[in-house]
Amino acid sequence: MTDHDLDLLIRDADPFPASHSLDLDGADAALLAEICARPAVDRLSLLQRRRRRTRQASALRTRLAVSVATAAALTAAIGVPAIIAEHRAGSAGPEAGGREATRPGPGPVSTAPVTYAAAAVRVARANPRVLVTAPGWTVRSVEGFDPDAGETTFQLGPDQWHDETFPGGSSHVNEAPRLEVTWYPRDQYDAYRADRAREPHLQHVTLFGQRAQMISYSATDHAVMLPPQGEVFLELRGNVGDEAAFRQFLADHVEQVDIRTWLAAMPSSVVTAGNLDAAVREVLAGVPLPPGFDASSLGRGLALDSYQFGARVTGMVACGWIEEWQRAHESGDTAAADRAAAALATSRDWKVLHDMDAEGDYPEVVWQYADAVATAGSDGSGKAGLDGYRSALGCH
């Protein structure tokens, strides 16, 4: 059966062929009207944020898969800084390369020596750096971590998941008290402000000495948008109670802090030298390591989101096992080759890859090469399946 024949079969199996025509009775136009009647951009929705993460992941995947992805190119592509920004509490400056001094903020000051990634410091430097200082509140997640766009979600205590049923389905909803702090590029501020001006429940508050727009999306869902500071502006949106409670929460428990304090509050998904070891341990849980694996060669000072970081670490492991398989195969060490193949086969069970799978296709690439090794055969007849693995996986 030729490719053409096969494609004809697939075309014939199209569940909704082009020949179908639907009488939508104006439902398409109704949807367009519904969408256009929506308040203009009110916030980065969950879907948008996921898309953004996926786009970041896609960019990484593309780069990983590009055949010219040399080690140096890969390093640059995924934003691993070559410079490590080191600073100590109380010293003059935590900036990358020590070129700039820190302007300590009014918040608490950390005392532990910490080394931060230069890329992370760049983000922090460009950011108004808001933290929730109320007891029990921590950074639950970080969505994007770029100088001009990103979001940190603060939460009180653990997740509080509830099943919620609605027409057409049900879902699992985290109802823990949260405050989402989103930063946007400065050049979008006027557009956002104009959009907010059309909201029916627009008020103004003073926060950090600035007059800010406040919107109540519901009785317990409120947001404040601050004027730009530097190259970004902030939006804070939370579900901490009614409007009065939200105002009080902002006044009492939200502070602007200095760079090191802000970075110190970031979770492992924003990987700095201070939490790199813990992040590596988390990613490698249940992952068999190839001979000679050295996590320290990941470099110090990574500022990657969890997908990128997972790709970096699991790629190193997969590369190591494939190289071990090749070595063992070429030297006739059948037992070692089998061990390597078996280790790669466990990649189907690596939690980190399953976590990443929802966001992008890097896990598929790992599994593709694990399958290729498994089917290569003891005589190496199937080695062609490994072609291009170094560039595809980003092996150094």
Binding site: M1, D3, D5, L6, D7, L8, L9, I10, R11, D12, A13, D14, P15, F16, H20, L22, L24, D25, G26, A27, D28, A30, L31, L32, E34, I35, C36, R38, V41, S45, L46, L47, Q48, R50, R51, T54, S58, A59, R61, T62, A65, S67, F166, G168, G169, S170, S171, H172, V173, D187, Q188, A191, A194, D195, A358, G360, D361, E364, G388, A392
Partner: protein, 195 residues
């Protein structure tokens, strides 16, 4: 500076009217219930509306929409909560029109059903590369943009996916493409000609 002004609204309307049918077809081909396609299309265009001042230019926008729709499908399969109840009319209309493409009760034994079953057994990425190639008629470079991989990866995947599908169908379909009489033991599908 960007702003969601009239130009961007017009651009969005053009995008919507220009690609609605393609997006709806894309979604209908990949959902279990036709009405679920309404959610995918509505959520996809809602994202586009919210990003209307930053939409990709030219044909890239269509590919971007496919990429967003793909994510929406993934969200839907994970059972994630929809935050916006849009497109109820479209949902109702699709539900009411379901018989247009509902499988014929006898079609479980047809060649078409065999191919669909084989496609369902492929990995997600293999199936998507094949589907985008044949059903959406995208080129590898376009599929690469949708999936966020390189065109070379798409070409490799496409070749492999065809090979796997061919293997899955190999014992079921005669060289002419007609359904083979009889059945094969085990997980293979039982087939009858002309069903």
């Amino acid at each position: 500076m960007s702003s969601p002004g009239p130009d961007h609204r017009d651009r969005f309307r053009d995008l919507y009217t220009g690609h609605f049918d393609a997006l709806l077809s894309y979604a209908l081909r990949r959902v279990d219930r036709p009405e679920d396609a309404a959610d995918v299309v509505a959520d996809t265009f809602l994202v586009a509306w919210r990003r209307r001042s930053h939409l990709p230019a030219g044909d890239e926008a269509r590919l971007w929409l496919y990429g967003v729709a793909r994510n929406m499908l993934a969200n839907q399969r994970r059972g994630e909560r929809r935050r916006d109840r849009l497109g109820e009319a479209l949902r109702a209309r699709l539900a009411a029109s379901a018989d247009l493409w509902a499988p014929d009760p006898s079609s479980g034994l047809t060649e078409r059903a065999v191919v669909r079953a084989a496609l369902a057994r492929l990995g997600d990425l293999d199936r998507e590369v094949l589907s985008l190639t044949v059903w959406e008629e995208l080129e590898p470079r376009e599929i690469a943009a949708v999936l966020g991989v390189s065109a070379q990866v798409v070409r490799t995947r496409l070749s492999r996916a065809r090979g796997r599908l061919r293997d899955l169908l190999g014992d079921e379909l005669a060289p002419s493409g007609h359904v083979v009489q009889g059945s094969t033991p085990g997980p293979r599908l039982a087939l009858e000609e002309g069903s």
